[in-house]
Amino acid sequence: MEELALHILDLVQNCAEAGASMVEITIIEDFSSNLLLIEIRDNGRGMSPEVLANVEDPFFTTRTTRHVGLGIPLLKAAAEQAGGSFVITSSPGKGTTVRAEFEHDNIDRAPLGSVCDTVVALLAVHPRLDLVYTHSVNGTEFVLDGREIREICGEDLNHPKIIQWLKSYIAEQEKQLGGDQ
């Protein structure tokens, strides 16, 4: 994956498959502590300790169409190669939280990329998922709460014209925030 934003997309796809109704994506950039943190928290069905123990292994997957599951190992590798860490916690029936930390200035850290494109793609294909996206850069925060958007747009939330509007809105906010691209 060329962008960390693509890892985020991939992991939220897991959340959706795990039956989550709510997903919180949090990105924290703090230059003074040289930190880039990505956290994805869902309220899906969670994993048993046995599954959790295997989930970082690329040759473990719950799917049947192929025999490798690369999503989590890829993000873990991306964090570890950038002087960071990767932690996944889960409890059955409650949900799963993935937390990846990176050294912000590490030369081997992949660029964050377009989180805007990731968020609009998720809104377009999972209109019923409550998506809360928070991006903080040195203490300044942008929050996009999918529940507030649904309150305004109802079932038209993923209408292509609404999605296009959200895309330019998020891009505008991200530009102001001035985080990693």
Partner: protein, 118 residues
């Protein structure tokens, strides 16, 4: 700056547009969004479809996602479900997505060169 008020107005316009036509979706476009699809560029492909549908104000065309279907080497995979049946396209870039909209979805002609069989 864009405001919530703009979004409210846009929603009203969208509601007026959708009121003019009845019935469900006529064309369903499914983009493969497993790890393999995403790594191969499915996000850009998906967003290109959505953008093209918005720009052309097409109604009755929905875009949705599927997981990995085991054709990882040919991602991004896109399935078009229309009146002419089910067509599976391989290695769909944003550029190809725009042509699928104009030629297949709007023009009713399957682009045979890009079709893949499973």
């Amino acid at each position: 700056m864009k405001t919530v008020e703009d979004l409210r107005k846009l929603r009203e316009e969208v509601q007026q547009m959708t009121k003019l036509r009845d019935g469900g979706a006529e064309v369903k476009i499914v983009v493969g969004m497993g790890t393999c699809g995403i790594a191969a560029g499915a996000r850009e492909t998906l967003n290109a479809f959505v953008q093209e549908i918005a720009v052309k104000s097409l109604s009755g065309v929905v875009v949705t996602q599927a997981g990995c279907v085991g054709l990882c080497d040919r991602e991004p995979i896109v399935e078009v479900n229309a009146k002419d049946g089910r067509t599976i396209y391989a290695r769909v870039t944003p550029e190809k997505a725009r042509r699928i909209i104009s030629e297949h979805v709007q023009g009713g002609r399957v682009i045979e060169d890009w079709v893949t069989r499973n």
